[in-house]
């Protein structure tokens, strides 16, 4: 088998354990938004709405990592609830490795307590790999979220066994908590053109 060089093993090699760090070092939400032909997808806008509700419950800041679309899409994200839009150096067309690197690096530098992703095929391709790289927990396919504001935990309700059972999941052990929504969860928030926010160009 090939030599591995995952973040987890590098950290183990240097004796770094995420659990030693306090959860307080992670604050705020990061919503991952995807572009389709240069426009932010509806699924991502709906996830932004879900994220805004969580951020309000936590009294936290919400940043959007925008992949596959340009700076022209930032005002629409800010007017719908983003406090900041992060623009990484990544190709506009989906490419697993490059988008993974952009997501992992954004999490490492912005240190959100929650990473929220829409229920898309790119999320299903990317989220487990990103969570594993960061050695943190992932709730996949959540159809509903609940904020436990005191513990700063997100509880995700996930249909299991083909919808024959519902499970309530949380990721209490590590930060950030990765949450991937099920398809068609959330609504596109209405625009507030007076909302302000920043646009941040992330280094490569």
């Amino acid at each position: 088998m090939t030599e591995d060089s995952t973040a987890q093993e590098l950290m183990a090699a240097y004796g770094i354990s995420l659990e030693e760090e306090t959860a307080e070092e992670y604050r705020g939400l990061l919503v991952v938004a995807e572009g389709q032909q240069g426009q932010v997808s509806e699924a991502s806008l709906a996830a932004l709405g879900v994220g805004r509700d969580l951020a309000d419950a936590f009294g936290a800041r919400l940043e959007v990592l925008l992949l596959g679309a340009g700076e022209d899409q930032a005002p629409g994200l800010i007017s719908r609830g983003a406090d900041a839009v992060l623009l990484p150096q990544a190709p506009a067309a989906y490419q697993a490795q490059a988008w993974l690197a952009a997501l992992v690096s954004a999490v490492q530098t912005r240190r959100p307590e929650v990473v929220l992703l829409a229920g898309t095929d790119i999320t299903r391709d990317l989220a487990p790999r990103a969570a594993q790289c960061l050695d943190t927990g992932l709730i996949g396919g959540a159809q509903e979220l609940r904020a436990e504001a005191d513990e700063r935990l997100v509880v995700g309700i996930v249909p299991l066994y083909g919808g024959r059972l519902l499970g309530e999941f949380a990721c209490p052990v590590r930060r950030p908590q990765f949450i991937a929504l099920a398809e068609k969860v959330g609504r596109v928030p209405s625009e507030d053109r007076w909302r302000t926010g920043e646009v941040v160009h992330l280094p490569a």
Partner: protein, 261 residues
């Protein structure tokens, strides 16, 4: 071509799933167990590749002792080697903990191609396949509906919202199987008999050099706080009012209750 297929034993998709009274687990008595359907697609494809190009197919399964029957099903379909990761230390694994154990086993195996199902129909997490790729430092292609092998690389088709994407990556690689990839074979009665006598290698956490706090419940990063049955679907509702008023009420209900407008 050396191929390893990760297979999982899951409750039959028609089985009734009932939570235990305390809501922290599911009742397992009387449940018929089967190979996860997406893993069947993965195994079938691995067998077809072997039939074309030669090599071996190894079925790798993490699960309790009773999961050996699913490995036997794999052997009846045509898997050459059976490896069963089974140890009380693995109990209570979440997808993250399961991936650590499977990755440790895969590191010790020679493989050009690793197949998984795109998700298991029990927890529906879809975590393990691509997480394995990350743990092993390999490229992955997920939710594959068609695959071709060329010298040292794999070309796969995957269904996306925008249409079919054709993706290629070098070998070794991890692929996850989507419905539609193939029609899995039914094992012949004689092969089912032969599979019962096939060697089955059992592997423990200690054999893999895994510390007990990285696997099973201790290594899990997600917690289940509750299982419950979904609410019964209510019947329809008839809005009785003069047309103009009924329309108003319907629009209000679609907006506020159904939230589809």
């Amino acid at each position: 071509m050396e191929i390893v297929v990760c297979i999982k034993q899951v409750p039959d998709t028609a089985a009734e799933i009932i939570p235990t009274p305390d809501g922290t687990a599911i009742r397992t008595e009387g449940i018929p167990w089967v190979m996860n359907p997406y893993d069947e697609y993965a195994l079938e494809e691995a067998l077809r590749i072997k039939e074309r190009l030669g090599g071996t197919v190894t079925a790798l399964c993490l699960g309790p002792e009773s999961a050996a029957s699913t490995l036997r099903t794999g052997a009846a379909m045509g898997a050459d080697n059976l490896v069963h990761l089974t140890d009380p230390a693995f109990e209570g694994s979440d997808p993250h903990a399961a991936a650590q154990a499977l990755a440790a086993a895969l590191r010790g195996m020679k493989c050009d191609l690793i197949w998984c199902g795109k998700l298991a129909v029990d927890d529906c997490s879809g975590y393990v396949g691509t997480a394995l790729a990350e743990l092993l430092g390999l490229p992955h292609i997920s939710a594959v509906i068609k695959v071709e092998l060329e010298a040292g690389k794999v070309v796969a088709h995957r269904e996306t919202e925008a249409g079919t994407a054709v993706v290629s990556c070098p070998l070794p690689a991890v692929l996850t199987a989507e419905k539609g990839l193939n029609e899995p074979r039914y094992p012949k009665a004689l092969d089912i008999m032969k599979a019962k006598r096939k060697d089955l290698q059992t592997v423990t956490a200690a054999d893999l050099g895994l510390s007990p706090d990285r696997v099973g419940a201790a290594g899990a990063l997600t917690r289940v706080t509750k299982f419950e049955r979904p609410p019964e679907r209510g019947g329809g509702r008839v809005i009785e009012a003069p047309t103009a008023e009924a329309v108003e009420q319907l629009v209000a209900a679609l907006r506020q209750e159904a939230k589809v407008l």
